[in-house]
């Protein structure tokens, strides 16, 4: 039923465009990812060009902020339906649960790709305009491609976890502190660091780096693959919860 699947996707697209509190989040993510990088580059670029030996940290500085908005988008995309119980109305319109969920994943992934591409391009352009040398080096393409995929995977990951939990508040409470606060903080603690490097955001962000870190213990692309596995797991967990009963 290709047409029915397309209808479910179109409905999700209209849902996004008709709810301001939903569509502002990816826009905000884009502005932060590109804008904060450019602003910080402008503030620091003129004085100290060698603040770090890895330019990618400067390029993706804004992503630290942008990804929070992007994660909120992934959470809200289905979480607000749980909270308002509108999921019941969605399920009467699209009773095949896998189809409804698949349409949401597709839209979330697509928005993640578009925002990821625009944000990554903006960050590179903004940084390179101020700091010379950002375009140098062979890891550039890998870092840029990973920057796009990282953002798409993040949206799908958050969407999956939220669906698995079946609750907006629980998803916010779990994802926002662990992914954006705990994970970067813990990666500085020597003992825990060995485990923390396998968390989705840590592993995924390693794919953005120009410079190898021998302490990580896996390659850059492997890092993105680890994040992709987390995302697949979250998406599957969401599907199972959706099939069981999303509304009780």
């Amino acid at each position: 039923m290709r047409s029915a699947a397309f209808g479910a996707f179109r409905a999700e697209r209209v849902k996004l465009s008709t709810l301001r509190s939903l569509w502002v989040t990816p826009l905000l993510a884009l502005m932060l990812t590109a804008g904060v990088t450019t602003a910080v580059g402008a503030a620091l670029g003129g004085r100290d060009r060698n603040i770090t030996d890895d330019p990618s940290i400067g390029v993706f500085y804004g992503l630290n902020f942008g990804q929070a908005a992007l994660a909120c988008f992934g959470i809200l995309l289905i979480g607000q339906e749980f909270n308002t119980r509108m999921i019941d109305v969605s399920l009467t319109a699209v009773p095949r649960r896998g189809r409804l969920y698949g349409a949401k994943l597709a839209l979330g992934g697509l928005v993640g790709l578009v925002v990821g591409a625009a944000g990554t391009a903006g960050a590179f352009a903004g940084y390179a305009a101020i700091v010379p040398g950002a375009w140098d080096g062979p890891p550039l393409v890998r870092s840029a491609v990973a920057g796009v995929l990282y953002q798409a995977l993040l949206v799908v990951f958050c969407l999956g976890v939220t669906t698995a939990l079946g609750n907006l508040t629980a998803a916010m409470g779990l994802l926002v502190p662990t992914v954006f606060l705990l994970s970067p903080l813990l990666s500085g603690v020597p003992g825990i660091r060995r485990v923390v490097r396998f968390l989705p955001d840590r592993a995924g962000q390693y794919a953005l780096r120009y410079v190898d870190d021998p302490q990580v213990g896996y390659g850059h692309w492997t890092g993105l693959l680890i994040m992709a596995l987390w995302t697949a797991l979250a998406a599957y967990g969401g599907l199972r919860a959706m099939r069981r009963s999303p509304t009780k």
Partner: protein, 305 residues
């Protein structure tokens, strides 16, 4: 047509819906009646595939709801008018629903006009009163022009004019040949709207009958009598001679159950009692419902009429 066959739902071992079997036929308004907590909403959720039955099944024109292609074209449902995102406009809410089932955009404007929300189409739902949300819910149910409609407590929050509107709407929709199932705990409203009744209590089917048959069967018919000389009437009806079930109600008026008005008139004439009022009074649906549930305190299921 909706067919419910042996439908059963248990939550944590407690039966909320207990082997329900009934049909909702096209061309009539079927009232789904029962006290709060009787299992009406759960039954509707089961029909729509929002919950999975423990046993039994519910079919729409012979197929489970979840297997319908473009279900909004087959069934229009209103469950909880509050289950909306307040940040969308009325038009925005209906637009995504239309997109999901490939319905033309013009239907959005048509149903908004039909429910009287054309002027509020561009307003955010969070500013809507409960009555306006109910109207929007009805608009959503009508969007796909479906032959089957299922509305859970649609008169909730409506003002008297709104209640009258929905009554007329439901009767018109049934007259067009659609199958209409409407639940309510408001008996008087149901008596005016529904041609047929499905009554449940504690998840079980208590009655499945035409509204008039239900009232005939479970309600009492009483004859109210007044006479010019109340003492003579009291002697006639209060005595044991005629084997009448009569009670004095107020100010010399009497009510007689289980007798024909012709017989009362004949008895009065024979005794020379001059009557100036003799009226047949029938129980309301509410009284009939109360009597039935009182008769079967344990909510024993009774054979369908």
């Amino acid at each position: 047509m909706i067919e419910v066959q042996g439908l059963t739902k248990e939550y944590d071992g407690r039966r909320v819906v207990d082997e329900l079997t009934f049909e909702v036929r096209p061309g009539v308004v079927t009232g789904f009646l029962g006290p709060n907590g009787a299992g009406k909403s759960t039954t509707m959720r089961l029909v729509l595939g929002l919950d999975r039955p423990t046993a039994g099944r519910a079919l729409i024109d012979g197929r489970p709801y979840t297997e319908l292609a473009d279900p909004l074209r087959r069934v229009g449902a209103l469950l909880d008018a509050q289950a909306l995102h307040g940040g969308r406009t009325a038009r925005g809410h209906l637009r995504w629903l239309a997109a999901s089932n490939g319905l033309p955009e013009r239907r959005v404007g048509e149903v908004l006009a039909q429910v009287g929300l054309a002027d509020a189409a561009g307003r955010r739902i969070r500013s809507f009163s409960l009555g306006m949300r109910q109207r929007l819910g009805v608009a959503a149910a009508l969007l796909g022009d479906p032959p089957v409609l299922m509305l859970d407590e649609p008169v909730n929050g409506l003002d008297p004019e709104g209640i009258r509107w929905i009554r007329t709407l439901l009767r018109d929709l049934a007259a067009e040949g659609r199958a209409v199932l409407v639940s309510s705990h408001l008996m008087t409203e149901m008596a005016l709207t529904a041609d047929h009744l499905v009554v449940i209590g504690r998840g079980r089917l208590l009655a499945d009958a035409a509204t008039s048959d239900f009232i005939d069967r479970h309600g009492r018919t009483r004859i109210r009598v007044r006479a010019v000389d109340p003492t003579k009437l009291a002697a006639l009806l209060g005595g044991t001679g005629h084997d009448l079930d009569a009670t004095e109600v107020d100010g010399g008026a009497w009510e007689v159950s289980g007798a024909e008005p012709e017989r009362i008139a004949a008895l009065a004439a024979a005794d020379g009692v001059v009557l100036y009022e003799i009226a047949v009074q029938q129980d309301s649906l509410e009284e009939a419902f109360m009597r039935m549930t009182a008769d079967s305190v344990e909510y024993r299921a009774e054979a369908a009429l």
